[in-house]
Symmetry: C2
Subunit: 758 residues, 2 copies
C-alpha cells in the first residue's frame, strides 16, 4: 500500500492530520516531602464506578486522570489541565501530585493499598498484579497517548486502493502497520522524551541490581520498569496472529487477562482482541511515555504534537516493519533505556534519519512551520544528548539534591499555580466564569461533559443514558420557555406577579413622552422610579426617592428614559435595601447584598491608596475574568467623592466609609456580601413563590426589604419585588467579597442529576 | 360632598377620568332578509357554561357579546370588534347579525326557542320571563355600558373628606349619586342616542297600541319596550332603602329575582344587593342604549366617550338627585322616548344646560379637544333634532323602504366587511398575524384572555384556575428553556441531532477565513453549503450544488459568509426538496412545500402582467399584514428573468413556469403549498423524533427529501435534516397558497388546555 501516493493524489493531506486525541495520566498523590500518601482516594471525587475523568490506577494513592477524546490535541491538553486543577484544588491541603514517573518515598508494602474499586474483579486483578510484579513496580506512573485516525480518512484510503477487499481488514492492517513501525522505532521517542533516570533504592524488591547504572535514560521503560515477563510473546504480524498469540498467553496462564499485556502500543476499541476481526481496531494507545516533570501536567504541547506526527510517520513510511523488526525495536528500546543520558545513543544515525524522514513528510503534508521547528529541535538532540529531557532532568535533580526533593519542589509549585486563579479553570478561561465553575464541578463529580459550543457556553452533560444541556451555567431544560420571556418583559412580569398576589410596586406605562409629561399630577409627591421598559443595564433610570417635586424634573427624567426605549414605566419607589435572592427549585440557596463601590478609611492612607489596596484583592480584576471588579477612579467616582467633600488625595478618618459609586453593581466595583443566613426565612419563602409564579426553576429575585430580620408582611412597606431575572449570575454568590461562599453550580448539577445523590 | 373641589385641590383630574369599561351587546342572528333565525346557537362557540365573550341572551337566536373590562374605552371597542369578527366568520354562511334594537321578521312564538343553557335555573328564569312579558319583548336588543371608577380615585376621595367614616359607605354613596343623577338626566342620552323608532306590527302581542305614533325616538326605552311593570318601585335614595325595596319586590312576587329589576342603571359587583352593605357597589351598568345601526358593532367610539364623560358629570355635579328627581327623570324618559324624532324635545333647554355643564367640567378637567368637540356637536342637536341618530336612522329607513330592509342591507354589509381580511382581526392588527389567529380561536372557544403586552405579542390565557402564557403565537410553558437555545445554534443543533441518530449533513466549522480557505482539499468536488453559523435570514449563504470546483470560488463563498458571522460552517449539500414540518407534541400537524416566487404563462400576458395578476390574490400583500407576500419586480427578479432569457415584457408560453427568485422564502413572494396528506408518514414520524431530540413541543423541522412518496431510510440519500426552528411560523400553514388550511393555533390551544376537549 503506497499511502503517501494516495494521500497526495487525493489531496488528503489535511484529513491525514485529523483524528482523535486522548490522554490517560497516572501520578502519585504525595505529601509535601514528595513521599507517597497513605490516604484513601478522596470521597469528593464522586464515584469511581463511573467517573470518566478521575480514577485510581493500581493503588489508592495513584491517580489516573483521563481526558475525553478530542479532535484537537490542544483540547486534550486543556482537559488535562482542567482535570489537574480540579484535582489539585480538591485533594487535602497537605497533598500534592508527584510530577515524576518513578515514585519516591514509597510506603511499606503493607501501607500501599490497592485501589478499592466497587467491582470485586477489579480489586482481585490488582491483587494478582501484586503477586506477579510486587507492589512497588505498580506505583510507577506514565502518560498514555491515545490516537485515532479520522474515520473518513480510513474510508477514503480504503476506497482508493484495490489490494484489500474488506474495509475492516484494511483498517486493521493500517493500524497494525503503525503499531509495528512504532515498536520498531519507539526507542527514538524514548531517547528524546524519557524522564525516569533514577529511583530510590527501596524501589527494588531484591536490592539494587548490580549492573544498573545510577543514572539511565528511562528506568520505567527498561527491564526494571513495569514490563511483562520475557516469555510473553505476542505477534503483531497480522490481526489473526495477534489475536491467537494473545489468547494463547492467557490460556497458558502467562497473562491473567488480555489487559495484562503491557505493550508500548495497545490495540484498542474492543473488549476482547477477537472482536477486532469483526469490528476492526478503532484506535491505538501508546504507553511509552514517562511523565515530563517540567510540565505541570506531565506532557508539553510541543511534545504531544511531535508524538502525533511521529505516529503519522509510522503510517506514512513506505515499509512496514515485520514482527522481527518489532522485536529488534524492543531490544533497542531496552538498550537505549539504560544508556547514560549524557552520552550519545548507539543508534543516533538511525534516529536522525528517521527525523529527517519525518521532516520530509511534514513538507509533503504542508504542515505549519512551528511543527517543523519542533522536529528540527529534536533532531539536534542526537548530536547534543545533554539537551534531551532526561539529561536536563538529571541536571536539575543534582541541583536540588535528589529526585524526591526536586519532585516535591515542583509538586508544590504546580499546586500553587493551580490555585492562582482559584475561581477559574485556566484551560477554559475563554468561557464565562460561571461555566468554568460548572465545568469544575462536573469534572470533580464525574459527569461526562462535552463542550458543544465554547463561545456560546453550551455544554452537554451525560450520566448513563441521561443527557442534559446547559447554557450559560444555569439555562437548562428545567426551566420553561415562557418563563424567561416573561422575565424579559418588565410589564408582563409585574402583571404576572400582581396576579399571583405578590407585593409589586404600582406603575403606569407610557408610549408617548407628551402623554407621560401630562400625567405629572398622578405622581406629584410620590416616590417613583422612571425607567425604560426593557433595558437591563440600569440605563435611563431616574429615581425620585423623596417624591416628584416639580414638572421640570419629571419631564427631564422621562426624556432620559425615552432615549432608551419606546416604552417607559413610572413605578412606585420602594424604601429599603435591595437583596438578590438566588432561587433554585423549592429553595432560596443564597441571598446577596450588593454594596456600591467604597473604601473604609484608616486615618492614614488616601482614598487613592485605599482603592489601590482594595483592588489588590485576589477576586478583583478588570473585564470578565474575575468574580469582582476593580474600583475605577474615573469621572463618576471623582464626582461622587466631590459630593462628600473629598478628592482622591483626601485621607478619610479611621472607619469612615467613603462611597465611590451611587449604584451597587458588582461590575462597577461594588462589594458582594452574602447574607443568606441573616435573612428572615419568610423572605426566602417569598422569593421561591415569586420564582414559581414566573414558572422558573432557576431565578434571581430582587426584593426591597427595609429590615431583613423582621418577618414579611403583606404590604409594600414590608417588602416589594423589583425584578425577577432568568439566567441569574452565580459567581457573586460563589465568590462573595464577604460572607460564606455558596457553590450554586453544584446545586444546578443536583437539580439536573438527582439520581447521582451528590 | 364637594367632589369638584376635592378633585381640583388634589389634582385628581386624570385619575377621575380613569376607570374600567366594558360592553354587553345583544343582537339577533338573522337571515339575509333580516328575519330572525330559528337555528340553534352554533356549537363551534365552545361551551356557554363558561364562555366569557359569546353568550346567548334570552333566545337561542339572540347573541350576547361581552367584552372584558379594559382601562381604555378604545380597548373595549377593539374587543367588541374582535368578538364580532369572530362571530360573523363563524356563524353559518346564510346568517347575519341584525344591527337594530327592535327585531324584525320575528318567528312565531313557537319557533322562538329560549336559550338552552346548561343550568336548569337559567332556562326556568327565561320561561318565567316569557310568561310575564311575552317572547317578543325579550327579543329586543341593546348595548349595556359598564363603568367602574378607578379604585385609587375612590380611596383618595374618601381620604380627602371627613363627612363619612366608612369607606364602603362612601363608595356606595358615590355610586348612588351617579345612579340617581343618571336616572334624572338619562332622557338627554336617549334624545341624542336613541335608535328604535319603529317596529313590525306583529311585535305587539295585542295589536299595535292605538295612541302610538308610527315613528318615535325609542320604542325600546318606552313603556312598549322591555320594562318592568309600573308597580316595581325600587328606591335609590340610599343603599339601605335600595336593598330593602328591591328585596321587598322579590318577596312580594313582583319580581321573580333581583336580576329581573331592569333599571337603566344597575348597581353591580355583588351576587345579592344586600352584599353591597358589606363590600360596596363595585361598578354601574347603564342599560339605556339602543344599538346604533350605523356602527357595525352597535356603538361608536365617539358616543362611548360621550357617555363616559356624561357619567362623570353625574358624579361631578354639585347636587345629588333625590328619589323623586329620579322618578321625574324616568317620566321624562318615557315622554321623550315617544316624541317624534324630527321635532324638538319638550326639555331641550334642560338638555342644553346639562351639556353646557358638561363642557365646563371638561374644561376644568383639561380634557382633550376632540372630546370637547364631540360634546359641542351633541349640543347642536337640541336645536337641530334632524341631526339626532334617530332622525338620521328614520331618513335611511324611509330611503330603503323599511327598517327590516335597511337592517338586512347593513347586516350583509357588516358581515362582508368582517371578511375583508379574513386572516386577521382588525382590532388587533398591530399584533402579528399568528397572534391574531390565536386570539380569534380563544375568543371563539371561550378562553379568557388578557393581552399582557401588545407590542410583545404576550397573552395570558385562563380557563378556571388554569393559567397559560403565550408569546408570539406558540411560545409557551410546554417548551423547555434549553430547546430554543439549542435550535438557535446551528452547531449545537447538529451535534444534538447527530447524537440522537438522525441524518445530519456533515460539516466543519471555521473561525478563521485563512484556515477555512486552506481546507479546500477537504471539500473539492463535494456538494456543500457554506453559511454563517448563526444568521437566520439566508444572508451569506452559498450553495455548491455541483460540488466545489476551484479554490477561488470556494474562497469567495467563505469571504461572503465571514462577513455575516465570525464562525462559518461548510456543510454537505443534500439533493432533494426542502419541506417544512410543523410538529406539535407527538404529531406532525402540517407539511409545507415552499416554492420560489414564480408565475405560470398563458401565452398571452407578459411576465409583468402575470405578476400583477398573481399579486391580486387576497392573501398577498406587503409587509407583515398578509399571510403571503407580493412578488416584487426588482433587480433580483429581473436578473433571474435574464438567466431564463426573458425580461418583464416577455410573454411566456401557456403553462410555462417562470422563476422570479432562486430562494423559496415566503417573504420574497414564494408560494406555500400544503402537502401534509401527500407526505409519507415515515417522514412525519421522523420530524416528531427530531423535535423530541431538541426537547421541543412546538417545532418547525426542515427536511430535504428527494421523494416524499417513498418511505424514509437511514441514509442521507433518503432524507436529511437541515434545521429545527423554535417559534415556527404558523400563518403559511393556516393560509397556504395552495392546499388545505391547517388551523394550528387551535392545536396550540388544545395543547395548553387539554381539559377543554376542543
Amino acid at each position: 500500500m503506497k499511502l503517501q501516493q494516495i494521500i497526495k493524489q487525493h489531496r488528503l493531506e489535511l484529513l491525514f492530520q485529523q483524528g482523535l486525541f486522548g490522554f490517560e495520566k497516572e501520578s502519585q498523590r504525595v505529601y509535601a516531602d514528595g513521599s507517597v500518601v497513605i490516604t484513601e482516594h478522596p470521597k469528593t471525587f464522586g464515584n469511581r464506578s463511573y467517573h470518566p475523568y478521575i480514577q485510581t490506577d493500581f493503588a489508592e494513592s495513584q491517580l489516573e486522570l483521563i481526558t475525553p477524546p478530542n479532535k484537537k490535541i490542544e483540547d486534550s491538553l486543556r482537559w488535562l489541565s482542567a482535570i489537574h486543577e480540579v484535582v489539585l484544588r480538591t485533594i487535602p491541603d497537605n497533598e500534592y501530585i508527584f510530577p515524576m514517573s518513578m515514585p519516591a518515598g514509597l510506603p511499606s508494602a503493607a501501607q500501599i493499598k490497592v485501589a478499592q474499586l466497587d467491582n470485586p474483579e477489579d480489586v482481585a486483578y490488582r491483587e494478582h498484579l501484586v503477586k506477579s510484579y510486587g507492589k512497588n513496580k505498580q506505583m510507577v506512573s506514565g502518560i498514555h497517548y491515545n490516537f485515532q485516525l479520522d474515520a473518513e480518512l480510513v474510508k477514503t484510503l480504503f476506497n482508493a486502493q484495490n489490494e484489500i477487499q474488506s474495509e475492516v481488514e484494511f483498517q486493521n492492517n493500517l493500524y497494525l502497520k503503525i503499531a509495528k513501525n512504532f515498536l520498531r522505532y519507539q526507542w527514538v521517542l524514548l531517547y528524546l522524551l524519557s524522564a525516569s533516570p533514577m529511583v530510590d533504592d527501596d524501589y527494588f524488591k531484591h536490592g539494587v541490581p548490580e549492573d544498573l547504572s545510577p543514572i539511565v535514560r528511562s528506568l520505567r521503560s527498561s527491564e526494571y520498569g513495569y514490563v511483562n515477563a520475557p516469555d510473553v510473546n505476542v505477534s503483531f504480524d497480522n490481526i489473526n496472529t495477534y489475536v491467537e498469540s494473545l489468547e494463547h498467553c492467557v490460556s497458558t496462564g502467562k497473562l491473567i487477562a488480555e489487559k495484562e499485556f503491557y505493550s508500548n502500543v495497545r490495540l484498542k476499541g474492543a473488549k476482547k482482541a477477537r472482536d477486532f476481526l469483526q469490528t476492526g481496531i478503532q484506535y491505538l494507545e501508546f504507553r511509552l511515555f514517562d511523565l515530563n516533570p517540567f510540565d505541570p501536567y506531565g506532557i508539553s504541547l510541543n511534545d504531544a504534537k511531535f508524538i502525533h506526527y511521529f505516529i503519522l510517520l509510522m503510517a506514512w513510511l513506505d515499509e512496514t516493519a515485520t514482527q522481527d523488526d518489532a522485536e529488534l525495536g524492543k531490544a533497542r528500546l531496552y538498550e537505549v533505556a539504560l544508556e547514560d543520558p549524557f552520552t550519545s545513543t548507539a543508534y543516533a544515525e538511525e534516529g536522525e534519519l528517521l527525523l529527517i524522514a519525518l521532516l520530509d513528510m511534514l513538507k509533503e503534508l504542508g504542515v505549519e512551520q512551528t511543527v517543523i521547528e519542533i522536529v528540527q529541535e529534536k533532531l539536534t538532540q542526537f548530536a547534543q544528548p545533554n539537551k534531551t529531557l532526561c539529561a536536563r532532568l538529571v541536571d536539575e535533580i543534582i541541583k536540588f539534591g535528589g529526585y524526591q526533593q526536586l519532585g516535591a519542589k515542583l509538586a508544590k509549585q504546580y499546586k500553587a499555580q493551580a490555585f492562582e486563579r482559584f475561581y477559574a479553570l485556566s484551560a477554559f478561561d475563554n468561557m464565562e466564569l460561571s461555566t468554568q465553575a460548572l465545568l469544575f464541578d462536573v469534572i470533580q463529580k464525574g459527569i461526562k461533559t462535552e463542550i458543544l459550543d465554547e463561545n456560546d457556553q453550551f455544554l452537554c452533560l451525560q450520566h448513563g443514558e441521561h443527557i442534559e444541556y446547559v447554557k450559560n451555567g444555569n439555562m437548562t431544560s428545567h426551566d420553561s420557555y415562557i418563563s424567561p420571556l416573561i422575565m424579559e418583559n418588565k410589564v408582563v412580569t409585574k402583571k404576572v406577579l400582581a396576579k399571583a398576589g405578590f407585593n409589586v410596586p404600582q406603575s403606569l406605562e407610557f408610549t408617548s413622552l407628551e402623554q407621560a409629561i401630562a400625567s405629572y399630577a398622578l405622581f406629584e409627591n410620590r416616590a417613583v422610579v422612571i425607567k425604560p421598559k426593557s433595558t437591563n443595564y440600569g440605563l435611563g433610570i431616574t429615581i425620585f426617592q423623596q417624591g416628584v417635586q416639580n414638572p421640570d424634573d419629571f419631564a427631564k427624567a422621562l426624556e432620559i428614559a425615552f432615549r432608551e426605549d419606546k416604552e417607559v414605566m413610572v413605578e412606585d419607589y420602594l424604601v429599603g435595601t435591595e437583596y438578590r435572592f438566588f432561587v433554585l427549585g423549592d429553595e432560596t440557596l443564597a441571598v446577596l447584598l450588593r454594596v456600591p463601590a467604597n473604601v473604609v478609611g484608616d486615618g492614614e492612607r488616601t482614598v487613592a491608596e485605599l482603592v489601590a489596596h482594595k483592588n489588590n484583592h485576589p477576586l478583583r480584576g478588570d473585564g470578565s475574568r474575575t468574580p469582582l471588579k476593580r474600583i475605577a477612579l474615573g469621572e463618576i467616582e471623582q464626582l461622587q467623592l466631590k459630593e462628600q467633600g473629598m478628592d482622591i488625595f483626601s485621607t478619610p478618618a479611621q472607619g469612615q466609609i467613603v462611597q465611590l459609586r451611587a449604584n451597587s453593581n458588582i461590575s462597577t466595583g461594588g462589594d458582594s456580601i452574602d447574607v443568606t443566613d441573616e435573612m428572615h426565612p419568610s423572605y426566602k419563602a417569598l422569593a421561591v413563590g415569586i420564582a414559581k409564579a414566573m414558572g422558573a426553576s432557576v431565578c434571581g429575585v430582587d426584593l426591597i426589604i427595609p429590615d431583613l430580620t423582621k418577618p414579611a408582611e403583606l404590604n409594600l412597606q414590608s417588602w416589594g419585588v423589583i425584578e425577577a431575572n432568568f439566567n441569574p449570575m452565580m459567581m457573586m454568590h460563589i465568590f462573595p467579597y464577604q460572607g460564606k461562599s455558596r457553590r450554586l453550580t453544584l446545586n444546578v448539577i443536583k437539580m439536573l442529576f438527582p439520581e447521582l445523590k451528590i
